[in-house]
Amino acid sequence: MVYHSISRLARTQKVFISLVIISITLVATLAACGGASTTSSTSSKYGGNIKVGLDADVTTLDPLKSSSLYDRQVMLNIYDTLVRLDANNSIVPDLATSWVYNSPTQLVFTLRTDVKFQDGTPFNAAAVVFNINRILNTPTSPRYSEISSVKSAVPIDSSHVQFNLKRPFSPLLAALTDRAGMMLSPTAVQKLGSNLTNDATGAGSGPFMFKDWVKGAHLDVVKNPHYWQKDAQGNALPYLQSIQYVPITNGSVMYSNLETGTIQVADDLNPTDVPSAKANSSLVYKQEPGLSFFGIMLNTKVAPLNNVYIRQAIEWGVNRSEIVNTVLKGIGVVAQGPLSPASWAYSSSFAPYSYNISKAKAALAQGGKASGVSFTLLIASGSPLNTEEAQFLQSELQPAGITVNIKQETFTALLTDTSAFNYQAALLGWSGRPDPDGNMYSWFHTGGGFNDMQYSNPQVDSLLEAARSTSVQATRISDYQQAEQLILQDAPYVFLNYGVNEQATTTSIKNFTLLPTGMMEFASVYLSS
């Protein structure tokens, strides 16, 4: 009887388990069948809602306070700038239709007269003055140093504004293509107050308007129906109905979302995912040299790196092409100086160092360290790429007699140590700026804001100052290239690679332009079905 009961019990349990499995399968199937598409598009260019994956969340929507690359990505689609950069890194009109230097210290802009901010406030010279004064009255803003050459901005009339400079400063125009040149509605700024950090309702004049932001989750913008810019055929822009920016910090998760079409645009991809993206017929992957550089900062005031021959030995001992090919999986360009191929001051013939262990040893000997030398290299933790690169450098430099001790720190701790000069060497790069001044002055001028190498060369200082003071591009190119030669001779920084700007999108994204700054502008982008 007991045996019979156990059999019945067993049957009952089997039925129960089967029912559970069937229920789960049913729910799953129902859920799968109901799959809602996150995108839509019409047969014309108009319409379409896209999702853009960013490596990190936006921190602020106020250009006055912004220091993050991701802020720029969003803000450049909400706010217009006085001037902008085209795909060739040339400065072209935006809210300003033209500009002229009346004198080396007087720059006059002619403004568009057909633009209104998203809250209806007209864009005019008074609005420009308001925005510039907002920066000049906030010395703690990161924008302040970017336009510190500006003494004042005054309206001439409603469509002309004059910038009075303290001294001739040709990089100013390039600064005005970015956050310093972003024009916000004075009405909205005053109304929103400190809440502008989180809410840009009505503040911009750009192709998209701020709608909603759930921090850490998504930031939504919608089409500005009154956007002033038209396409080549005179039709209204933008084409897209909305954009949702989604912060996705994990590279694998980013790629899986792109592969499945959950997002249509990815900020960038892990190097390990790039071959898969290239082979995937439903994705578009392109890359071009960017303006950024990456390498090793060397503290020129701390032994043993206070010896120029030791620094030159490191330059000779590094195999840059191997780093780009092996560590970066080809996602990068070999670097020889601060000016990348995307810069108009770049010289393709400039290659002072190549991988040469004999020359590295000779430089060590010249520096009185023929028996070898060692130093500690700080790297930011949390990045497998940084660790791999540091280990690669360690193994490459060993045969030359240079011992590298790797020390990991959080990124903020690394910045704290480098800015306090409490380090020997650090693996750190720069996101790059369109004007060569942005890649050189602060880094290599004596006392420059980013000159944590404590580097000082009066000749370099003179060249960098001269390059700022003239607007003749040929002269500036000559000055920057001469300065570059001297910097590489002194070797306070070992340039390893330039970054690349990537387009990683689904094939449904059309008219996407890869910009040298790496910014993603969606005014002319449309979604095809």
Partner: protein, 316 residues
């Protein structure tokens, strides 16, 4: 019973104070300055110092903790450095998301664990029992972030059955919400299934060997009734204890799962806050988590008494 409950509630306060203090010290031990993180990597030292002063971060640590504590007892958990909004508001916005995921994961674990545990107990040393044990070992051993990514790659990327991530509120689109829930629920709940299953199995084996079970069988009751009505009820008591402890592990697991599946819950908020050294948010989340954990265990203890009349929680 009431005296016991009041005593337990009072006991929560010193525990919460100790937890807050330890969290405060640990977060401040992490190198880095939240003001610098907020201002960006190229902020000038003067700008950073100005923001430090504005946020009160330049005050001595005991003073910072004291100020935070004084505000916390008044119900104000402070202002998030990164988000620029009250910590309580930030947590309230995200709590329903984490609660949905946590409850779903727990229910999923019980729905699987109970029948598997009962089957395993009544079919000891069978192939089914062996398979159930293998499953429990696998699900306990595999880290949840590995399982999550594997599920994404298989079900979302390869089979395209479920989305790889994202969250739509239930009231906005119920079907999309369920779609978004399946993979994170399985990821978070799988390790818990194993623990519950093994506990139920062990408890059932013990219960099935008791005299009252033999008596029930002798009275002619069906095996189903004997197992699920008599034995399981007593076997569930230790499981209740485990569930209480699992509130903490589910909350901890949610941190990673929400980050992988892009769920805007407490977990994702906390990860973001730790990385940006947003002290007020970290402390607020830890404090509320501690209270939730203690409240859940108090509830479990009360349910114990409800399940077993022999249990008296006070000394009467």
């Amino acid at each position: 019973m009431l005296r016991y409950i009041l005593r337990r509630i009072l006991f929560m306060l010193p525990v919460a104070l100790l937890v807050s203090f330890l969290t405060f010290m640990m977060v401040h031990l992490i190198p880095g300055d939240p003001a610098r993180i907020l201002l960006g990597e190229y902020a000038t030292p003067q700008t950073v110092a100005a923001l430090d002063q504005q946020l009160g971060l330049n005050k001595p640590l005991p003073v910072q903790f004291g100020l935070w504590l004084w505000q916390a007892v008044q119900g104000n958990l402070g202002q998030s450095i990164q988000l620029g909004q009250p910590v309580l508001q930030a947590i309230q916005q995200r709590l329903p998301v984490t609660a949905e995921l946590g409850v779903a994961a727990l229910l999923y674990s019980l729905i699987l664990a109970i029948p598997l545990g009962v089957y395993s107990a009544t079919h000891r040393n069978s192939l089914g029992d062996w398979l159930a044990n293998v499953f429990s070992l696998f699900s306990t051993a595999i880290p949840n972030f590995v399982l999550g990514l594997a599920l994404i790659f298989f079900f979302a990327v390869d089979l395209r059955i479920f989305p790889p991530g994202g969250y739509v509120p239930f009231n906005q689109d119920a079907l999309a919400n369920i779609q978004d829930l399946i993979l994170p629920m399985i990821t978070l709940g799988t390790a818990v299934v194993a623990v519950n299953m093994r506990q139920i199995r062990a408890s059932m084996i013990e219960a099935l060997g008791q005299d009252y079970v033999q008596t029930a069988r002798a009275k002619g009751l069906s095996e189903r009734r004997v197992s699920y009505v008599h034995a399981l009820k007593n076997a569930m008591l230790p499981v209740l204890t485990i569930i209480g402890l699992q509130v903490g592990s589910i909350l901890a697991g949610a941190f990673i799962v929400e980050t992988i599946f892009l769920w805007p819950g407490i977990g994702q908020l906390t990860i973001m806050s730790i990385l940006s050294k947003d002290y007020p948010v970290v402390q607020g989340v830890v404090l509320l988590s501690a209270f939730s954990y203690m409240a859940a265990n108090l509830l479990i203890d009360i349910l114990y008494a409800a399940f077993d009349p022999r249990i008296r929680l006070d000394n009467s």
